[in-house]
Symmetry: C2
Subunit: 158 residues, 2 copies
Amino acid sequence: MSNLTTNFNNKTIKYKQLLSNFKSLLKKNSLKFTVQREVILKTLYNSDIHLTPESLHQLIQKKYPELKTGIATVYRTLSLLEESGIATSLSFGAQGKKYELGAKKHHDHLICTECGSITEFVDEEIEHRQQKITEELGFKMSDHSMQIYGICKKCQNK
Amino acid sequence: MSNLTTNFNNKTIKYKQLLSNFKSLLKKNSLKFTVQREVILKTLYNSDIHLTPESLHQLIQKKYPELKTGIATVYRTLSLLEESGIATSLSFGAQGKKYELGAKKHHDHLICTECGSITEFVDEEIEHRQQKITEELGFKMSDHSMQIYGICKKCQNK
DNA sequence: ATAGTTTTTGGATATAATTGCAAAAAATAT
DNA sequence: ATATTTTTTGCAATTATATCCAAAAACTAT
Ligand SMILES: [Mn+2]
Ligand SMILES: [Mn+2]
Ligand SMILES: [Zn+2]
Ligand SMILES: [Zn+2]
């Protein structure tokens, strides 16, 4: 399936560092560093909310209209970023996918099925078990994604 | 977001029981029990692999050609089943969504990013932590989904 | 059983996501 | 710097998914 080579983990990093990582990833895979790719990376980096491909595209068109970035490029770049572990997507069931940069430290999501609000969390015990399970089953873990669905406090009190 | 009323949990159950659950769910939500909905439920139940909407549709057309079931109905019914917790979908990144019935006992997925093979597992410790975390954050958990991505044994030896 | 009411359906249409392709941009070689 | 090669891009075409709507089926009340 995926056949991209990567070698760095997602950490909380400065944009400069992220950009440099991205560049070396591209080089390692004989891909080119383009202005569109940088703009997409930067826009994701500067957003603290989860973005759909469409909303990301609109943001970019507004901020860099002279680029006339195509929606296809946004989709292609998001896939690239996800495959290489720089970004992750969050599936919202019916509501489709939203993306966020893995530049933040890894975390999982608690999603309210009433109002759609998202709470991020990490639990070391779970992280540890995941690693263990994977090993037991003979896999080599590269990534994981976990979503808990429920009703948030606010919505419970309605 | 979702506003369907449900009241039973997914267990390993006989088809008859599942069907009865489905019927009462429909009634409770003023939805109608139709031959298409039953065929979709039954076909999912009898499949032990994860199905895309398209492959499910093809299966049904082959087995029940006189029904001329529309693809739109398949999509609509899958959403209905997912919303009500009877089926779950598994996001395959680029490869789209696949569905399975929650009639089997709950489990999580280990997905090989090379060959796409899927291994199912459950870890009680993780299940327990998930519940605990949710409570700590003031949520009421209704469901969760967890996928671990990696390279399977077979693909490691290639 | 029949008629009235509500919901679902298939097919058409609309929108979202992916892919093919020729022109443009980036990287490399000279 | 310029030419050559490789990859990417935007747009168009395709495919996947969702929505609209009038006809059909399911349910309710008689
Ligand atoms: Mn995690
Ligand atoms: Mn689980
Ligand atoms: Zn909420
Ligand atoms: Zn494999």
